[in-house]
């Protein structure tokens, strides 16, 4: 079912979903879906509301249990790691729908927290305030600062998220996912609430990430998805109805009838602002 990826899968680490089934009570959210995403590849996951996109992310992250099927990343099973906090060690980072920033942490701290699993100083040296711990802390802060600089939001480093414009908050959330240097990045509706210009910038940014990592992108804005993705997986009623290049998906009649036809038309005529997917 899965289409050939643009890069050889031997070149990078691969997320592989195989015959995954997830049900909530009597409702089947994901019905034996199979797909893959490889490091260096940007894969869009689209589909109408309720198609199972966020459920797919939630299973990958261990928030939702699968009934059957397999998810592996770089050979190791994700269904056996039931905990979201193990993901960063495997090189997987995720942003949340909305922003999911910590209200009581400054922008800089919000970013720092994304990479603190890699810190080696132990509890004792943190409690005693030893140089070993504070030096590491300083290095992490400067790394977070650099990343904010790259994303153009370093001026806000000491502010608290609630006081900032939405687009700044979105970038901060992205920085938090990126600071762990993931090899697979799951983006859950990164463009929601952004203006057209900001969406263009986001598209450029995501393209710039792709050599270093694989990106799995759930997004309603078709302009962005079509412009950015190497490959698109279309979900409908928990099933994969198409998997291929943006062009092949756009010309797929099944996709058109299920979902995309109206959507593409809509989003083109209203300059990509359509949210009613």
């Amino acid at each position: 079912m899965s289409a050939p990826s643009t890069l050889s899968e031997r070149d990078g680490r691969t997320l592989r979903v195989d015959e995954l089934r997830v049900g909530f009570g009597g409702v089947v959210a994901l019905d034996r879906i199979s797909m893959s995403a490889t490091q260096g590849e940007i894969v869009g996951v689209i589909g109408p509301n309720g198609a199972g996109k966020t459920t797919l992310f939630n299973v990958i992250c261990g928030f939702v249990r699968a009934d059957s099927g397999v998810i592996t990343y770089d050979g190791s099973s994700l269904l056996e790691h039931h905990h979201a906090h193990d993901l960063t060690e495997l090189g997987i980072a995720r942003t949340l729908q909305g922003v999911g920033l910590f209200a009581g942490l400054s922008v800089l701290e919000n970013v720092m927290i994304g990479a603190q699993n890699g810190l080696r100083s132990d509890f004792g040296s943190a409690m005693l305030g030893l140089w070993r711990s504070s030096r590491e802390e300083r290095r992490l802060a400067s790394r977070a600062g650099e990343l904010l600089e790259e994303l153009g939001v370093s001026a806000y480093a000491r502010h608290f998220p609630a006081t900032l414009p939405y687009s700044i908050q979105k970038r901060t959330a992205l920085a938090r996912a990126l600071i762990a240097q993931p090899s697979l990045l799951l983006l859950d509706e990164p463009a929601s609430g952004l203006s057209n210009d900001e969406m263009d910038e986001l598209g450029t940014l995501i393209r710039g990430l792709s050599p270093r990592m694989g990106v799995l992108l759930v997004e309603h804005h078709m302009d962005l998805v079509m412009a950015v993705c190497d490959r698109i997986v279309v979900l409908n009623f928990g099933q994969v109805i198409a998997d291929g290049t943006p062009e092949s998906v756009q010309s797929n009649p099944e996709v058109a009838t299920a979902y995309l036809g109206d959507e593409v038309h809509d989003s083109v005529t209203t300059s990509g602002m359509s949210e009613n997917a």
């Binding site: 992250c61 928030f63 905990h83 979201a84 906090h85 993901l87 960063t88 060690e89 980072a93 995720r94 949340l96 999911g100 920033l101 910590f102 209200a103 009581g104 942490l105 400054s106 701290e109 720092m112 927290i113 994304g114 603190q116 699993n117 810190l119 100083s121 509890f123 943190a126 409690m127 005693l128 305030g129 030893l130 140089w131 711990s133 504070s134 802390e137 992490l140 153009g152 939001v153 001026a155 806000y156 480093a157 000491r158 502010h159 608290f160 006081t163 414009p165 687009s167 700044i168 938090r176 762990a180």
Partner: protein, 361 residues
Amino acid sequence: MTPPVPSGSWPRAPWVRRLRLPTQPLARHLVLALCGAAILYAVTSSLSPYNDFEVGEIALYVIALAGLSLLTGLNGQISLGHGAFMAVGAYSAALLMTHTHLNLLIELVAAIGAAGLLGLVIGIPATRLKGPYLAGMTLLLALALPPIADKWSTTFGGDQGLTTTVPSAPGSINPEEWLAWIQIVGALITLVLLANLLRSRYGRSFRAVRDDEIAASLAGIHVARTKVIAFVISAACAGLAGAFLGLSTGVVNTGEFPLTLSIQLLAAMVLGGTGTLMGMWWGAVLLVYLPQWSTSLSGDFNLGSGASAYLATIIFGVVLIVVMIAAPTGIQGGLRWAWRRVWSLRSGPGDGTPTVSRHPA
């Protein structure tokens, strides 16, 4: 992108700018602790022995409140049972004092360890409980623990309780001042250690878990472990405070750890400034002096002894309400706000950029 808002920093007077604190956590907090020790030394040596005793009590409540502030203010776990952790610390130390002749330091470490252990036992199921359910569980702890001491009265001394002994003071120092200094040093060490921890990744994890557990777990934070760590630290602080309380009162019995103690601790923590460490000094001062003030007040109004006992609680409640209306972030929060206002007025209109950065410690 919108143009950046000027990133404000604390407006400071020139002399404050010159006297900048070190940024290294240990150095910074040791400097602050030594300043605090100097102030308290001046205070205790100018006061009467009875007042020294009260300063010691303030110091011991600071320890319990700082732990509670970490747990509730920074990690978002509410505890209505901290009196029980204090009781465990007090009884552990007192049991060692009656049965062994160990060094006080070892007895205090045992009190910290025993309360921390109970914190672990309570903290693990607590990770699954939220808000009112956690409050209910910890409330049960405060209610259920004292009867245990009554049940095995031969071990725990029954109503009489266990007696504690303060090591004799060296030289010509009076015993009250000596005890006060043991408690003050305990409080300062506790505050330094907690402040260090809060400036590290652990402090950041505590706050992140409080704000959003799902986002925290996606950032690689082990949410349950973080909550248990906070609970154990907080309980251990309460254990040390309890052992010190036993030293102050000379006996340890269940009457010293009623449910109202747990509730007053929580109220004092909120009054001082939830999530702060320095604010706990204000909370502890209120905890020690409010009952006295209310007793003298009820004496002025010729109220009976029964009424005066309730008056303390009533006044506590009234103060809590007034402070929450006047300064929702507690006394420490209100002081910080006032301090910023003063300097922003000093530095002239237009220059007074609102501060946007704060640090929990």
